[in-house]
């Protein structure tokens, strides 16, 4: 198990290194790095100072190491627009995006798994079939359009929920979260459902096909022949088998919706990383783009690592060296 961990960590480092080279190449190979990292409106003296500090006057490979050193210290240049360190901006916005993504994932899992099990057990009933068609419909829906329609119906026409923005936040272990206040919840619910529709559809289909693939297997027959109650057969024998791939997919989907949150955040004006990156792309605020990229790569690496570890913990065949 430890060897496995060490090997995965090494792989992580390698990928991070490759990503840093790619980002470096992307930033410096495309256009003048001076333009990328230094505000074009800075005075000549400021420009020179920054060039010195970021080592832009040294040979390319030296520049890479300066870049790396700076990156590790969190120094990636100041945002052109906000004139503050880019990294700080991204990190400030991280909790909001995480909160949104976590809530969406929770909705997807808590609603999706029961529905998927039902559809898998009774695929030929009207309800079962409508769950499956409904799930296909769900992930065909363009997220941003659904978001707009939700605002239209629930906020504008019915006036039940606020239109955009994040609600009141309170501090929880040093991070500001908004799901602990009623006002926060009201603001959270529409974007969370909006972002959660796609993973919901995926979880339903995955659970359903998992159930359908597991039911005919011999050990299920054996469980029934033992005289176990059907409820136990489904909830223990079937579920534990399908949970392993489902958990893996859910973990990877979390990374996907962290990225896709960009869309929901734009529609609902949710103050997270996503909105920041879109604005930065449009305004050509390159340090923020670079910072976003590196932070995102790091987060995805961590998520992939956690998923791998989780998988090996859950599947006893992997954990105890059977496979």
């Amino acid at each position: 198990m430890t060897i496995f961990l060490i090997r995965r960590l090494m792989q992580c480092f390698v990928v991070l290194l490759i990503m840093s080279i790619l980002v470096f190449a992307g930033v410096f190979a495309i256009g003048n790095p001076v333009d990328v990292l230094i505000n074009p409106e800075a005075t000549q003296a400021e420009k020179e100072r920054t060039i010195q500090k970021l080592g832009l006057d040294r040979p390319l490979w030296e520049q890479y190491f300066v870049f790396l050193k700076n990156a590790l210290q969190g120094e990636l240049g100041n945002s052109f627009v906000h004139n503050r360190p880019a990294i700080k901006l991204i990190v400030e916005r991280l909790p909001a995006t995480f909160e949104l993504a976590t809530c969406s994932m929770l909705i997807a899992v808590l609603v999706g798994i029961p529905l998927g099990i039902w559809a898998g057990l009774r695929p030929s009933t009207a309800f079962g079939r409508s769950i499956m068609s409904g799930s296909i419909f769900c992930f065909s829906l363009p997220t941003f359009w659904v978001g707009l329609m939700m605002i239209l119906i629930f906020a504008v026409q019915l006036n039940w929920l606020p239109t955009t923005g994040r609600g009141e936040t309170v501090g929880l272990l040093g991070i500001s979260v908004s799901f602990l206040t009623l006002n926060g919840l009201k603001h959270l619910i529409m974007p969370a459902i909006n972002l959660g529709l796609y993973p919901l559809a995926l979880v339903i289909r995955l659970t359903c096909s998992g159930v359908q693939e597991t039911l005919p297997l011999d050990f299920i027959k054996f469980a029934r022949v033992k005289g176990l109650k059907t409820r136990r057969v489904i909830l223990v024998h079937v579920l534990k088998n399908i949970l392993i791939p489902v958990v893996t997919v859910i973990g990877l989907q979390f990374a996907v919706i962290l990225a896709f949150a960009v869309v929901t955040e734009s529609v609902f004006a949710w103050p997270g990383m996503g909105k920041l990156i879109i604005d930065s792309i449009i305004l050509l605020d390159r340090p923020v783009i670079v910072a976003y990229l590196l932070v995102t790569v790091l987060v995805f690496m961590i998520i992939n690592l956690v998923v791998d570890i989780l998988y090996s913990v859950l599947d006893p065949r992997v954990r105890l060296g059977g496979l």
Partner: protein, 295 residues
């Protein structure tokens, strides 16, 4: 009892496919949508991008209303007075063309690389697969977004971005299937005939790797359309000169709050219909082509 007519696999697939009424319906809807999109410019009552044909006084009219010149705007007008129906027809075309092109290119590039890797093996295979792993570690949306941030706006750039975000999936599946097929006896038989490698790959290996790829390709085209629409909505996708449905929807964003829903609603519906049909068709295709479910 057993049929006396010899059935080709194709016939069998088609009759299996027709077992799902939903899928057959979706297929016809899809064909309808594609036809409408192809003939869009000739079908639409107005060219919404010809400034001479639009009238700013007709702006923001609800669906079904009559304009200044006596023309009926079936789906209403947008902020510039453009007929929404026409704008949708033009936009549908662009959205579908971009989606299908990038999906097909991703399929071609990915499948080719995957099969080459499987067939050649060794360092080439390792290199291709490590690159695939790298790409697959990141959500396609992010890859497309960052590429567009670097490349800027433009149709070719969007197609390239979509291609890069999707090829890896095809490569992985193609390679996996090719590796399995490669071990099968008919490949040995063909190799014994000393056919050139290229012929083995194209004439024998490729057709047998196609079924899983076709299913994934169909779903991916739907995904490419959604991806492009999302990117255009956010303002980083297609430029204003190629107004896809995503752009139309984003144009209507600011009018949601004042209740002028139709500017965003109808383009979204026009986007939803082809995507949903493709997905429903792909789902049934998957059931039909899945060897594990063969009866």
């Amino acid at each position: 009892m057993a049929s006396a007519i010899a059935e080709t696999p194709f016939h069998r697939h088609v009759s299996d496919f027709m077992e799902s009424k939903v899928a057959v319906c979706s297929f016809f809807v899809l064909c309808l949508v594609i036809t409408i999109a192809l003939f869009g410019p000739w079908l639409s009552p107005q060219n919404p991008y010809d400034l001479a044909q639009i009238n700013i006084l007709d702006a923001k009219l609800p669906p079904g209303s009559e304009g200044i010149s006596g023309r009926t705007y079936w789906l209403g007008t947008d902020a510039q007075g453009r007929d929404l129906l026409s704008a949708i027809l033009y936009g549908l075309r662009i959205s579908l063309v971009v989606g299908v092109t990038s999906g097909s290119l991703a399929l071609a590039v990915g499948a080719l690389l995957g099969i080459i890797g499987a067939q050649v093996g060794g360092k080439v295979d390792a290199l291709i697969m490590r690159t695939v792993d790298l790409f697959l570690g990141f959500p396609s949306f992010l890859i497309a977004l960052i590429l567009l941030a670097v490349l800027g706006r433009g149709v070719e750039k969007v197609i390239i971005a979509l291609l890069m975000s999707q090829w890896a999936n095809f490569a992985r599946i193609a390679r996996g299937t090719a590796v399995v097929e490669r071990e099968k006896e008919y490949i040995d038989a063909v190799r014994c005939l000393a056919l050139p490698r290229r012929r083995i790959v194209f004439r024998h290996l490729l057709p047998n790797c196609l079924p899983p790829l076709i299913v994934v390709a169909t779903v991916n085209v739907a995904f490419a359309i959604t991806l492009e629409a999302s990117l255009s909505f956010l303002g980083v996708g297609l430029p204003i000169t190629e107004p896809s449905l995503g752009l139309l929807i984003s144009n209507g964003y600011e009018y949601i709050l004042s209740g002028k829903y139709w500017i965003s609603f109808f383009p979204g519906l026009a986007l939803l219909i082809p995507i949903a049909s493709i997905n429903l068709v792909a789902d049934q295709l998957r059931n039909v082509l899945n060897p594990r479910l063969q009866r």
